[in-house]
Symmetry: C2
Subunit: 532 residues, 2 copies
């Protein structure tokens, strides 16, 4: 602590840490379209004011894998206005920059002699803006090509099977302070999880020990973008997987702001989870005040200072259990409505009371989670109509749930789990299959869901084909194993099923989904048929 | 001519003129994916070598309204490598830059103190990269936000009815030479045509006359991107619509290279039509050698120098009439195949003979237009199989046509007309309606076609709704006029038809097409139903 007391910045690397800005979130919504940009703008302003050496982002800078023109233009404008200035950059990148920054130019942006970069931004990708397509490009690659962001942590998967990745740190020096910054852009949790449990699958390159120095002269930071919640261990990254030589972890992806660094017992490092700068799901965790972190590093010590984001739209959240409320008559729907109106009005009032100077003019987000066990639900859209102009989300103020058998607390956690941000914005195949009573006996619904997501959002034209190939392969090898190498007639049968599937159903799929125009036309023709 | 003989550049504005680079064209094609980028790179290299003051582009820099990440990244990389350097820019923009360049920064890119721009690029938009969406943004706005391109000629439509536009020139001064550069980004031909024929609908702002100077001290250039072919006058812009004070026109959109400036009799100006730098349709006009123009302006005089593009993929085109060939037996399909093989082989040989050093390694594009009157067609895909690895377009070497009654020459023109580049890449509604025998009695097929195009390519979610509203409105006003204000029962009937249409058929449309994910899912469900 004491090392920071002197007003000497020449040996202190000052980093502004933020994550999950989700630029472009709700860009079509009349009320909320600017929210993500205002928050990012505020983050950049804080960086200006605090005169930090760099900004470090933990992924999901963009909400969409293929951001709209509007979102790209706004993102570029914000970065250009804040990153380009005459302030000298006071740290050096001493590692092999062509390895750290895998773009055509191969150097950190402020070293390009043709740009006046005064505020360098470093970012990994998240699951929303992960690399995709033939050229494996992320939307962040566009910002990197314009020299506005230093995009790092894009992994090259080597080897076969579970594969192997190697993390090469960006080595930064400011005076006597040495920082090794490791970036790990989002990898599907199940896969990364398996890699962490496979010996040598994740390689951490360490800075060379210079003469007279020890390795411990480097302060080691990791920034990653993965699930951290521990309820389903396969689907999240365990903090204990990470190597003990690390000193500090920036955890992206989790939207709840837990910005104060927490020590992980026995591991020797601390973790900050800054949380998103814009609420993308109206759950309890997102209603907590949003912060970014000013991280000051001097030698082996660091000082964290949390800074509130004041431009963020106010968000009030509460939960009620109808049968615990005494003023409700189960047989009188009006009494339910009256009670809910009271709850919502109180939240709006609360939001006004809490308002800071900048955010007070904004309509608040309001969410009431209603346990309606023993009652009827009411129509949330209709309920919200009278709150148009009073709250930012009149259409979905209310969400109904039933208490699970496990009791209320556990139900809340599993609900938050289910409501992970990336699953909120679109219906999935599962719901469609359920709605339409389709029998999906060969292709697993989950795989199809992933394939659809990759096809639509990531332009992966082979998504369905891959999904099918994978399933056929799996069926074949499973059968081969079950029959212990011997060939049964059954084997032929399954192969036939697979081939038949491939040839008939999936060929159709693939042809259909490789042409979006074709899809629109197809749907149009169907709808015309139905209209006749 | 003589004024250019002295080696004095200080009073000569040197402009490299190119157009229709269609970046991203065929980006999924294994053979041709790099073509558009290589040609654009060559254009930039020529600009470097010739040390021009600026590059002027005539629209359709991008092929897609929403370019892929790959195309954006490559475009940015090329521009960044060529536009950023230490060469001083030697001309000044003296007009109101906030009017000329309608981005957030409002100045010409080389005046931004944080960028070392040595080669300024100026571009209007074409019909492929025209502004769209809520914020009316073009893909070129992304390049403008990064400060790599000076995007101008985005018109603001004022007034009602046919509307009004005002062209504010970019006023450039280099020594004693004054250039007024007018930009007119693509507007739908029919609309612009009507505007040109409406008094005062198109306003041309002229530079103020300075003391001791006359207006004629300005050399007036217009760059536009419209149809120029005159067979359908409503659907093209007549050169005689343009004001006589102009000195020089750069005509984009037309892909045939007619780069040598042609005088328009009685108008006092010359027109250059540089043509596309990449062939996007395999018609005769695109097979001619591609060039760009070096335009040197000194005072009121200019000197044009055409420069060939050597990186362009060779393209050989010919037309044959089967019944004029003596070695073909109409009853022997093999004799047809043999003849066509000979023709194609000759074209491949011709391409090799013509090969320049750089392009000789490239597989050529080959197109044979076959008048098959009195013969049967053959399958072009099957025919092309043996040319895989020998030509760049094995799948569509042959195109079959029948001589029209008007005779061969006219048929060729109308064919070229029909094969306008922007209509080649996708089937239209018309074809779909014809194929499926749908009866479209209320909505005109053409309108629906435009709506589909706008919905798919320009993200105009209101496209179908607007199309319907427009048609209902038109029906109503037509009826009101026909009945001369009196109300008939018929009137109610038609209104009812309109409302019914709106409520039933089109509401469905609108809901369907506002959600692409929905479309994919819908189609998927349909295909599942059909597979069952």
């Amino acid at each position: 602590m004491d090392v920071f007391s002197r007003e000497d910045n020449s040996n202190t690397l000052r980093v502004l840490v933020a994550t999950d800005c989700h630029l472009g979130y709700m860009e079509k919504d009349e009320v909320r379209r600017h929210d993500s940009f205002l928050a990012f703008e505020e983050i950049c302003k804080i960086a200006d004011e605090k005169q930090v050496d760099l900004v470090l982002l933990g992924g999901d800078l963009f909400h969409e894998n293929k951001p709209s023109r509007t979102t790209l233009v706004k993102a570029i404008e914000i970065l250009r206005r804040h990153c380009l200035n005459d302030r000298p950059v006071q740290f050096q990148v001493v590692s092999d920059q062509t390895v750290n920054f895998a773009n055509l130019f191969g150097h950190v942006n402020y070293e390009d002699p043709h740009f006046n970069i005064g505020l360098p931004v470093f970012s990994i990708h998240g699951n929303h803006d992960d690399p995709a397509g033939v050229d494996n490009l992320s939307a962040i690659d566009i910002l990197s090509a314009c020299n506005l962001v230093n995009y790092f942590g894009k992994m090259i998967l080597e080897g076969s099977g579970v594969g192997q990745i190697t993390l090469y740190p960006i080595l930064m020096k400011k005076g006597s302070t040495n920082v090794a910054l490791y970036g790990l852009g989002n990898i599907r949790d199940e896969r990364l999880n398996r890699m962490f449990q496979t010996p040598h699958a994740v390689q951490w390159m360490r800075p060379e020990v210079q003469e007279g120095c020890e390795v411990s002269d480097w302060f080691n930071i990791l920034v990653l973008h993965q699930n951290r919640v521990k309820t389903n261990p396969k689907n999240a990254i365990n903090e204990h997987f990470l190597p003990r030589f690390l000193d500090f972890i920036v955890w992206g992806h989790e939207h709840e702001c837990l910005v104060d660094p927490q020590e992980v017992p026995g591991m020797g490092f601390h973790i900050t989870q800054p949380g998103s700068s814009v609420a993308t799901s109206l759950i309890d965790g997102e209603s907590k005040p949003k912060h970014v972190l000013l991280l000051e590093i001097k030698g082996n010590q660091y000082r964290p200072t949390k800074i509130p984001l004041t431009s963020v739209r106010p968000f009030e959240y509460t939960e009620i259990v109808l049968k615990e409320e005494t003023d409700i008559d189960p047989n009188d729907q009006n009494s339910i409505l009256e009670h809910l109106d009271k709850v919502v009005s109180n939240l709006i009032d609360k939001s006004r009371r809490n308002a800071t100077s900048r955010s007070e003019l904004k309509l608040p987000l309001v969410r009431v989670k209603v346990d309606y066990s023993g009652f009827m639900t009411i129509n949330p859209q209709r309920f919200g109509q009278k709150y148009v102009g009073k709250v930012a989300n009149p259409q979905d103020i209310l969400i109904f749930s039933k208490a699970s058998k496990k009791g209320r607390n556990e139900s809340v956690i599993s609900d938050a789990e289910r409501l992970r941000p990336e699953e909120l914005n679109q219906q999935n195949i599962e719901a469609l299959v359920a709605e339409s009573n389709l029998k999906m006996e060969i292709l697993p619904v989950n795989d199809l869901d992933v394939a659809l997501h990759n096809f639509v959002n990531k332009d992966d034209k082979m998504a369905f084909y891959t999904c099918v190939q994978h399933n056929i392969q799996e069926t074949r090898s499973k059968l081969a194993k079950d029959t212990d190498g011997a060939k049964f007639e059954e084997d032929d049968l399954i192969l036939k099923v697979g081939e038949c599937l491939e040839a008939r159903k999936l060929y159709k799929f693939y042809n259909l989904y490789t042409d979006r125009v074709g899809i629109v036309k197809l749907s149009m023709m169907f709808s015309l048929c139905f209209c006749e």
